[in-house]
């Protein structure tokens, strides 16, 4: 999933080759480091693929399934903030729209789960278009807060309307027959979620490399200049938001299938902040960071509650440290560490690792364009 350090390697080894001071031992060491990094990545990928075989059913369903759907929800936010400069708290609202519609249709109206999923994701996309159209006029912190309002509207709507089960939620949501029982035999559900995650990752990465994706990044960096160049800034933001909506919607559907239940409390403000925390911990600059952050969160959520009562405090501390020290999140920190080691091995001056992360486009400031 994460090809980041490997892909940057090609760029950073070439100057080492040309510089006269870097003798051949340095180059071979860089080469072996690259091999090592690639081997580690391959190992991680292999473990990810083999989770249902290597670990117990509990780990597969509790850690594997949760981190995959949480990562899917987080990646829609990572895409928006990384490529569009829009830090949205409304992703859980879209998540809830799709999840609750699927639950409603398949439990109470007896629809086929696939058909219900399609309707749910389409509904989430339509709501995303509406939210995006309204919010696209705001930027930076205003965008964060208008999407917070959307999240609260959706939460209060689902909590107040008895049709969707209010706080009790809808139980016994059936996954498609192909996937089977996700609680007793989570392996199929795991592979299905993995496939959807890979598809979402590749799809969003593809979008970010199209002309539209590049224009969206232009809008993120300098909306005024893009407008002067003739781009419709609001339209780009709206479409970007709409494109991320089905990903958040799919996360909602898959969460309802994995847990066989969903309720209004699955989309409360706390969950919105949790998704944001997962995305920030993983790294807002790279799509794969979403799953890394979700996995870290889920691991802590599953195992740390055993030895501390104050789990949320520790989550807050980790969140704070990451925002303060490494705006690129865990993935960004790994990338900087990789660059630092590479420089060291190549024999060049070991520049501070921050240089790498500072060069990345950080969506941390709206540049006064409020």
């Amino acid at each position: 999933m994460s090809t980041s350090p490997a892909s940057t390697s090609a760029a950073s080894t070439s100057p080492a080759n040309t510089s006269p001071t870097a003798a051949s031992p340095g180059t071979t060491m860089v080469r072996s480091w690259t091999l090592g990094v690639r081997a580690a990545l391959a190992l991680v990928l292999a473990v990810v693929v083999l989770v249902p075989l290597l670990f117990s059913t509990f780990v597969t369903s509790q850690v594997g399934l949760t981190s995959l759907w949480l990562g899917l929800a987080a990646v829609s936010l990572t895409f928006l903030s990384g490529h569009g400069g829009m830090v949205s708290l409304a992703q859980t609202a879209l998540f809830g729209v799709a999840g609750l519609i699927v639950a409603k249709l398949s439990v109470e109206a007896g629809w086929n789960p696939w058909a219900a999923a399609v309707v749910g994701i389409l509904a989430a996309t339509a709501v995303g278009l509406l939210f995006g159209a309204v919010a696209s006029g705001s930027q930076g912190i205003y965008f964060l807060i208008i999407t917070l309002a959307f999240a609260q509207v959706t939460y209060f709507y689902f909590a107040a309307v008895p049709t969707f089960g209010a706080h009790g939620g809808i139980n016994g949501v059936p996954p498609p027959a192909l996937i089977g029982d996700p609680v007793a035999h989570p392996a199929r559900m795991y592979y299905f979620l993995l496939a959807v995650s890979v598809a979402a990752f590749l799809g969003l990465r593809y979008v970010s490399r199209t002309a539209f994706g590049l224009a969206l990044q232009g809008v993120r960096d300098d909306p005024v200049r893009m407008a002067a160049l003739g781009f419709n800034v609001r339209l780009h933001r709206t479409l970007g938001f709409t494109l991320a909506a089905p990903v958040a919607g799919a996360a909602g559907v898959l969460s309802a299938w994995s847990n066989t239940r969903i309720s209004a409390d699955s989309i409360s403000l706390g969950v919105s902040i949790l998704v944001l925390a997962a995305a920030v911990i993983g790294g807002l600059n790279r799509l794969e960071g979403a799953w890394v952050g979700a996995l870290l969160y889920t691991l802590c959520d599953t195992y740390m509650r055993g030895w501390t009562d104050r789990f949320t405090t520790w989550l807050g501390v980790v969140f704070l440290v990451i925002v303060l020290l490494s705006p690129g999140g865990v993935v960004g920190a790994l990338g900087s560490a990789d660059t630092w080691v590479r420089r060291r091995l190549a024999g060049g001056p070991a520049r501070p690792a921050l240089a790498q992360s500072a060069a990345l486009p950080l969506p941390i400031s709206s540049k006064g364009a409020l």
Binding site: V87, V134, A135, G137, S138, Q139, G140, I141, Y142, L144, I145, I146, L148, A149, F150, Q152, V153, F156, Y157, A160, V161, L269, G270, I273, L276, A277, V280, D309, R310, F311, T312, T313, L315, G316, V317, F319, L320, V323, L324, P327, L362, P363, I364, S365, S366, G368, L370
Partner: protein, 362 residues
Amino acid sequence: MVTCLIDYRLHGESVKGSVRGMATQTAAGKRSLPLPRLPLAATAAVLVGALGLLGVLWQAFEAGLGSQGNVPTFILITLNGLTLAGLYFISASGLTLIFGLLRVTNLAHGALFLLGGYVALTLGQDAGMSWLPAALLAMVASGAVGLVMHQLFLRWNQGQDLRQALITIAVSLILADQMLAHFGATPTAIVPPDFLAQPLPLGLYDLAYPSFRIAILVAAILIGLLFWLVYKRTRVGMVVRAGVDDTAMTSALGVNVQRVFAAAFFVGSALAGLGGVFAGTSLSLAPGQDQAFLVSALVVVIVGGMGSLGGAALGALLLGLVDQYASAYLPAGYSNLSALLTFVLLAAILAVRPTGLFGKAS
């Protein structure tokens, strides 16, 4: 630099030409413009608002002014709305002060709010303090925590507004969880001061209203007036206004801007704490209140325009009244949707005016 200059000179002619071309184009565009457009969305929003108010008034005065009609209820609901607005204003004024001066969206404001309430509760219950000193100490405690947060985490991230917002979210997670650990999850209320414990007779339809809630309204008006006076009439206010307009220039003129920032953060956080004391006395304190009041304060500040004190007052009034009228006067089947309405209000106002009613686009 040099190539840049050469570039400019080389293209000077063509730039001039294109500017002339643009000028003629816009002139032509102006001539062919259709009739001046009404701001459609704004008109629709005002119309819907007016219709809603008419509906409320119709229900209130339908049965006449007699004591058998709905007027007494209407008066009570209006007072509820006004006192709620007072509560919102007290906590939102701190938020808007911090935002206006420092451009920091303090998402830990709700946690500081709850902290103030809990500190006053503990001082009153365990240390046996009376209400007023407890409230003052609670303000100092909230202000101090806010100040420490600013000095430790926010000060060196000046200008990175989203990063600062994320930092304050993290701090609010920590604070809320620690408060849950120390004060428990059971909702508790602060005992009001003795002289405000009795309901106040209104002299209309034999109505009486809790005097503490009237006191909230009075306190909110006093705070608003004090703010306004300090802001417009004193040297401190002048420095703050200058800092809002142009921080760099104010600093260059010899004002210690960092000290002004720290003071603003202290006062803003202390106001959050005061709001928590009032809310804890008139309503109750419980985990989750922090998020609820943070969201309300944000809605108030955003509706009014971030950084504008008058906007915060108007936003608080709108939010308080809409909230109370909606829960009382919406048709029976829809009354549980009243919480929605405030957010619809917010979304509608932001869609029409992306920086709020009185917000300045910087």
